[in-house]
């Protein structure tokens, strides 16, 4: 496993972790452009733009983009979050030059007007699909409730209205402002040759315009809120909780992840024994999500609507106990074993390493090998967990409840 890094003259940063033992290679462009970078009049544009990239460039239409990836059996996709858009492809090493050429090409999309109007319909369908899913409804509402006017509270997909009203000129303007080479990291993981990669990057990305987009990455700490959304026909109640947590810049992020595992892993955690094992709920989970300058713990609950209030009380007790006494050495050791093993399993595939490689470089300009990641989890002590709990109390927390039970009250 070897690490390489270079910066092209236009500012595009290239990082690679190469490994002859694997069969494939994964490449991704990590663009610092997400819903937190939008304004109200273009709500949802980052995600819509991600779709439009696949509609093609000056030299390719949408059908040609799909065909040129599929001809070499390349697995391609993209995803948009609150803070980034990631375009990625995984293929056999002999096909990387062809796949990479297409991937780089779609980052310079034509944004044609007729494609834009057609794709609007697809985006609106995607919004409708998520509106039919209780978990998605709860997640969107929980972020909006917790972050309020902070940019992280914005919807990634936007609304049917914001998508309908958007113009292609607005998207072109957004694209110009966020897709400069200095705002993008190219990460490559897997079986390949560094000098060939640099040649590919130079050939297909060297002509991209410069440009670094700023971000007003405000820290978010503070008040929590509560909301009950009625979905009378749902059979289960879905609840999402949100509490502040360390940011991705923080050295406490590994401790935060272990804390989430101890409290709310899907098996063997405190919440598992309190809620799932006795059958009070069929789903409960705590996950740690780090953002640029901010972080949160998300708590997810699915249960019988009549049990939802009692379950919120049970979660509140678990949180209070944890804050009072903190996790034991034994709990920490168990959580660490789980996280270490999952990290190794995920890292065996190039695609499993790509995200870590790219995001670490995008936000921390840091390379962490798998061994470095494992060591960082190994170093966490119960004192570190204590410090995170003191700095980021688990309660009071933002709660959004979705389902037929609208009588639910905060448990604190």
């Amino acid at each position: 496993m070897t690490f390489h890094q270079t910066t092209l003259s236009n500012g595009l940063e290239v990082v690679a972790e190469l490994n002859d033992e694997v069969r494939s290679v994964a490449a991704g462009f990590f663009v610092r452009a997400g819903s937190r970078d939008e304004s109200d009049d273009v709500s949802g544009v980052s995600h819509f733009l991600e779709h439009m990239a696949f509609k093609g460039s000056a030299s390719r239409d949408a059908l040609a983009v799909n065909r040129d990836f599929d001809e070499v059996g390349a697995k391609h996709n993209a995803q948009t979050s609150e803070e980034d858009t990631l375009y990625h492809v995984t293929c056999l090493p002999e096909y990387l030059p062809r796949s990479f050429e297409v991937l780089a090409d779609i980052l310079r999309p034509s944004l044609r007007g007729d494609d834009f109007e057609m794709e609007k319909q697809v985006i609106i369908e995607e919004i409708h699909m998520y509106m039919d899913n209780p978990m998605s409804v709860a997640y969107e509402a929980a972020k909006a409730a917790h972050f309020g006017p902070h940019p992280l509270g914005r919807s990634i997909l936007g609304s049917v209205e914001s998508i309908k009203n958007m113009t292609v000129e607005q998207m072109r303007g957004y694209y110009q402002s966020r897709y400069g080479a200095g705002n993008i990291v190219l990460a490559v993981s897997g079986n390949d040759d560094w000098s060939r990669l640099v040649d590919l990057a130079e050939r297909y990305c060297g002509g991209w315009p410069q440009g670094v987009a700023g971000r007003d990455a405000l820290v978010r700490r503070g008040p929590t809120s509560f909301q009950a959304i009625c979905r009378a026909d749902d059979q289960q109640q879905t609840v999402i909780g949100v509490a502040d947590a360390p940011a991705l810049e923080s050295d406490d992020r590994h401790a935060a992840q272990l804390l989430a595992t101890i409290l709310g892993d899907h098996t063997g955690s405190r919440l598992y024994w309190t809620l799932i094992d006795p059958g009070h709920a069929d789903g409960v989970d705590v996950s740690y999500q780090d953002y640029n300058n901010t972080g949160v713990f998300y708590t997810f609950l699915s249960c019988d609507p009549d049990e939802a209030q009692a379950n919120l009380g049970r979660i509140e007790s678990v949180f209070r106990d944890a804050m009072r006494e903190g996790p034991s050495e034994e709990e920490l050791a168990q959580a660490r074993n789980k996280v270490l093993s999952r990290t190794v399993l995920r890292s065996e595939r190039p695609m499993g390493r790509l995200g870590s490689l790219g995001f670490q470089w995008l936000y921390r300009r840091e390379y962490l090998s798998v061994e470095d990641e494992l060591a960082a989890f190994d170093r966490v002590t119960t004192d570190d967990l204590r410090r995170v709990l003191d700095a980021f109390p688990l309660t009071p927390w933002t709660i959004v409840s979705v389902g037929p039970n609208v009588e639910i009250k905060p448990p604190f």
Binding site: D70, M118, G279, G283, D304, Q334, K338, R342, E348
Partner: protein, 414 residues
Amino acid sequence: MNIEQHSHVFPNGLVLAAETMPALKSAAFTILTPAGAAFERASSGGAASMCAEWVTRGAGGRDSRALIAALDNLGVSHGESAQTVHTNLWAATLGRNAFAALALFADILTKPALDDDEVEPIRALALQNLRGLDDDPGSKVIHELRKRHFPDPWGRNSAGTPEGIEQTTAEELRQFHADNYRPNGTILAVAGAVDWPRLRDEVERLLGDWAQRDEPEVEEHASGSPREHITRDTQQIQIALAFDAADVAGPDYYRARALAGVLGGYSSARLFTEVREKRGLCYSVYAGYESLRGRGAIYCHAGTSSDRAQETLDVTLAEIDRLGREGIAQAELDMMRAGLKSSLIMQQESTSGRSASIASDWYYLGRMRTLEEISSKLDELTPESVGAYAAELGRGPRTIVTLGPRPLVIPGES
């Protein structure tokens, strides 16, 4: 990478199939035991899922907490779920912990505590799980499609029925376990950083004494109506349809896979191109392939707003007809092959992916396939052979299920 395949059938019928992958750090195993929903009594829908949960709540003298702690301490990622035919227990961990993990799963299979106190919590979980599935229109429509396309019990949803979950007693669950958790019919597939002779010896020691049971008789019943609309006040209408195709062991298997791929297996496939790229009707539209023993199916799924759902169904059906009428082009066949071959090669980076594939191969074929075998079978396909098969399938009956605010019109039917 130096990958080797090994297998051994023990006197009690247990199959051990393995692929040793010394270049990897991890090892994974998949256990298919013949305790799926198909073997439930009709009045006990959900028993297989409840049993799968029950066996993991304490085993080999450990209570529930001690068992989960033992798995966590070994860093075992694992899951247990009942499917239609099998109950699937899978685990992945570092190669050095694989044998210790295997010993825990041998206890789960052969020495579960089956404590009566666990039954009511398990019942509560099963009911909630069923309701949760009902709240998700995309999953719901696929379950309803399977139920109507395959004859009972092969289309059963392992999540069960509300009545079955509510009424099944601890005694009935215990009986289900005694009848169906058995070595004859169980496949243990292992992939990753393990040593074959040691693996075979360990499995012999752990499961060699597991007593055989008789194979239960299964009575097939006709499935329900091949047309169904489920009325729901949703934003989108869900459309699911299926038609018969070859099973994995059949001579036409690779032609069936090719057709499913060309129809809707990747981004330049027919459905994605015609429904989404050219008309913007859907966000999600795809086709897939499912096999049981002796029968297989190609299925399609799309979800779209009410006012666009009729066109989505019309275009989807027209594409299936066109496939039967016009066949496929060489370029499409090449693309399908490139995608499938890449996936197979990349699967060799994943021990859990490989253990699942090995187990599935053994169930359908009684052996493991190599990458070379699959590649050469794919290379034998021609546009003519796949086109002829498409024409044959195109004439067969279709099962169509929709879910949403209003039913759709099926072209050519009144």
